[in-house]
Subunit: 287 residues, 2 copies
């Protein structure tokens, strides 16, 4: 998996740089570029590997993978703002509003969302029907019932006296982090016009396992390794999978979800090895 | 023109409400809806009238018009934020972050952008090729060299010691307000697959005249009529068309641009009466 992930990272850097080069030089373009540096590129990798499984060439999948990473970058920039999670460290660097300004961070996020949609109109992806399927699924993953709505639930939960239970936190995370991961993992099938169901089941388990691993890292992680502040959820008295299930319970649940995700890929046989390995990586990572 | 504008306003309200109904009930959906209330609907009207001129039925143009208004609403919500223009009054009501919170206003803006792109995938617009042309032009109007970049230039100018000259302010406004107006005015031709050149020349004049009229209203307007704070530019020592050209010079330039815009429509004959009237309205309005 690592060789393919490294290859995808290099491809993504090229595609993001080409898209960013369309922006006139200046602080906005600099802040946008800054926000797209680094990251695990898990979402982009999901696009590229699901594409490979459905016979979609790398050059067709790449604009979609870059769009997902641009959108993810926008969501981090806005989530880190003082009015939201108020974070000062991200991917081991000062967050966008610390490095530049709040105004520039808000605009850079807005522009990265627009850039993501622009990338999805790339002719290389396929015929107009295929591109439209992608644009629509992407807009749904961001909007109604998707990422932005999940973040709104998260912000609302923080100012509420009532603590979330397991059902509520699962619903929240399915939207906040799950929707974009599911889009990324099914993108290959969507481009090809194939049934995305198996990939969707894989992504549902993967997305939740990913979030549980994030919650675990917030408790046991090392700031120097994760590149972001840890211990924030506990300090804020926030309900997480760890606060509800306990550390060992959360680890068990993550392992169960990863097994479920891997099983969903049975129909792809050995070709899905990278995606199975990614699921293991997601809960074993220390960053 | 007024009867058609009233008709379009009612159609837009219906289309926006239908799109907003996709969002789960709650503060985010309420804030999004709040941000789409009122407004002159000039951009939506441009879409509907340019569509009529190119034989595109109302039901095909409506999702595009609603998308433009949703995007415009997002841009106002983000521009009004404390870190940006810090406005507390808009369309005669408290701005979104005053009514709700900064976090909710940021997220409502983000969601309105995603909702705009989702609207552009509506089957009613036309075949996949037509919809993709629209998505691409729309993304360009928002992103690289478009609205967000123009707003970034505006924010940068405010913190700069150097005052903008006429050339710089024209360049800024062409991006900040002009790009979306040009998209709206050419949308009908783009949907139909026709040459958008005449409409684009019309929109270029209209967009600048519109901004000059805004600058004039900031000096001579009545807060109770405009529904937003006035006198802000002068107080901030900001360069505007009025500060550079003087009040009478700005009025002359706006009239010249409106004439230029109207002339660009000659090829459409009497059918373009509403658009010619709109150009006059844009510089004669008191709101």
């Amino acid at each position: 998996m690592q060789a393919r992930l490294d290859e995808v990272k290099a491809q993504l850097r090229g595609a993001l740089d080409a898209a960013l080069a369309q922006y006139p030089k200046g602080e906005l373009a600099d802040a946008m570029a800054y926000a797209t540096v680094g990251g695990k590129r898990i979402r982009g990798f999901l696009v590229m590997e699901s594409a490979r499984l459905h016979g979609v060439p790398d050059e067709a999948a790449l604009p979609v993978a870059a769009a997902v990473e641009a959108l993810h970058a926008y969501s981090l920039v806005h989530d880190d703002l003082p009015a939201m999670d108020d974070d000062d460290l991200r991917r081991g660097m000062p967050t966008c509003h610390v490095q530049w300004s709040e105004a520039t961070a808000i605009l850079a996020g807005d522009a990265l969302q627009a850039m993501a949609f622009r990338l999805l109109t790339d002719d290389a992806i396929g015929d107009a029907e295929a591109r439209l399927r992608i644009v629509r699924a992407f807009a749904d993953a961001v909007g109604a019932g998707g990422m932005v709505w999940g973040q709104a639930l998260d912000i609302a939960a923080e100012s509420s006296v009532q603590t979330l239970d397991l059902k509520a936190i699962t619903r929240l995370q399915r939207a906040k982090t799950g929707a974009l991961i599911r889009f990324a993992a099914t993108a290959g099938a969507l481009i090809a016009g194939d049934d995305p169901d198996a990939l969707d089941r894989y992504a549902a388990g993967l997305g939740l396992a990913f979030q549980i691993a994030d919650d675990i890292l917030d408790v046991v992680g090392d700031e120097n390794v994760t590149g972001k502040r840890v211990g924030k959820d506990g300090a804020a008295g926030k309900a997480t999978f760890v606060s509800i299930l306990g550390l060992e319970g959360a680890r068990d649940e993550a392992r169960r979800l990863v097994h479920e995700a891997q099983t969903a890929l049975d129909g792809y046989g050995e070709a899905a090895g990278n995606l199975r390995e990614l699921a293991r990586f997601v809960i074993e990572r220390d960053t």
